[in-house]
Amino acid sequence: MSLVSAIFLVFVAAVLLLYYVVPKSARIGVVILASLAFAGFLGFYTLLFVLISAILCYIGGLLSGPNKSNGARNAATIITVVINIALLCAVKYYNVLGFAADRLDMLFGAVDGANSFFKFAVPVGMSFYVLQTTGYILDCRWEKITPEKNFFKVLLFSSYFPQLMSGPMNSYANLSSQFEKAKAVKFTVGRICEGAVRVAWGFFKKLVIAERAAMPVNQIFGDHVNFTGWYVPIGVFFFAIQLYSDFSGCMDVVIGVSHMFGIELPENFNCPFFAKTVREYWRRWHITLGGWLRDYLMYPVLKSAPLIKIGDWAKAKFGKKNGKKVPTYIALFILWFAVGYWHGGLWNYVIGSGILHFFYIVLGMIFEPVSKKIRPKIGADKLYFRIFQSVRTFVLMLTGFVFFRSATVMDAVDMYAAIFRRGVALNWANFSSSGMNLANLIVLAVAVLIVFAVDAYKYRPSEDDEPRSAIAFLRSKSVVLLWAAFMVLVVATLIFGMYGLGYDSGSFIYARI
């Protein structure tokens, strides 16, 4: 079941009706049943792995909690976390194992791989809920929370249906407090309307923008023998538009649906393409993944005894200021390798969503003192420099997107090589052969400008400040205005969306991770 489908909307409407009709004490039960039903819709293995992960999370949490010896707690934490992550790696990344994958396929009776057991067994959204449940076990061990004794609360935490496929990732402390609040939430037209606008905005981004931008992307990335030269940057530019509207649109649907239940989920995007630096970009793009990896991977690594020792050694060797950066660079490398690997376990992801960004960030840190000195001399407080910073960061992101969109590293390298090759002429006839005719281009340009305008309204210079909410703005004026926005978005999506009989709407890019 795709989040952008009529069947999903019917499912949400049915669950919402039941949620607000039953006594308030039974609401959480409705959400648990709905979540299990949703996982079941996604496939037997998705339901199975969601249950396994929840049981592991529950047991791991209880055994990692206080009132036991530290040795027993550490053992429980390590065993359950390793099983959790190993399950993810085994199921999601078995292709990377190569040899082992062939053996496993043979074991399950598929010699040619075409009927591979694991191919069918890949559960949807596992990359998201496995990290979330791992975070729960570690929170119990680090005494950030008290282990939950009620299994069904843990089950709901790990399977909550709006966020099951693509996040946003959440901590138990946050999500469980939202579930508590939901018991008292009153049904209001305003709440449903706010959620509906957010969902419609997500549909608009996915069906009007992402699916349309995909046309030149598929053509150029699919044929860089013919589409060379300027077509390469053009293709990557359109892919940036596609990816952002796809993933952020998906989050709009998820957050909007959850809002209707009175359960607020954290934002995953905060105007990323307005970022001044690569570091800032990653604090504005897929925010909950960055936060998870910072708290559960980078901080423990940085605070570990070996890294502290390395830090002491480096300070003695290179001086205090430079020496303390050495462990930081090591931890950043581990972090970015993990980010890349998490995106798919293939080298094009490890490079394009990981190590490349590590280099950009470290280079930024190394040149920071020089840049601080130069900035006042070149008028860094002027608007042109501010625009330059965002454009530069965007271009650096595009260099990573080449790897992210390509099938393999060699494919990405060839894509770069294609910039310098001769192919079909750069003209309108060739470009529009992908289906991107003038009408489509105009619709896309207008829709992208609308998204840009909304992001410009939301934007705050500091990523720590909560962005403005366009929906809250409309709501503050009148509910009628909110309904009007909803109607405009629905009509625009119905007229300009890429869907309908015979049209195969691609699944969300991040739902495939």
Binding site: W142, K144, R294, K303, L332, S462, D464
Partner: protein, 80 residues
Amino acid sequence: MTREEVYDKLNEVFQDVFDDEDITVNDSTVAADVDGWDSLEHINLIVAVERCFGIKFTMGETTGLKNVGEMVDKILAHLA
């Protein structure tokens, strides 16, 4: 150790970690108030505080501190 004594030592740690002799912190100081106190420098600060007071913060405390006041509460709790 009194709260004031903790602050005397803590100010020295902040001044040393962030290389600024003018820094003085109080209960309501947060990361945004101190130039250079970002997610990467945070662990350097935590380790320096641990060494100064001879204590060990849990990972929960490391990531969950809301402001310097909370940090001082935790230091006093560990010293008690």
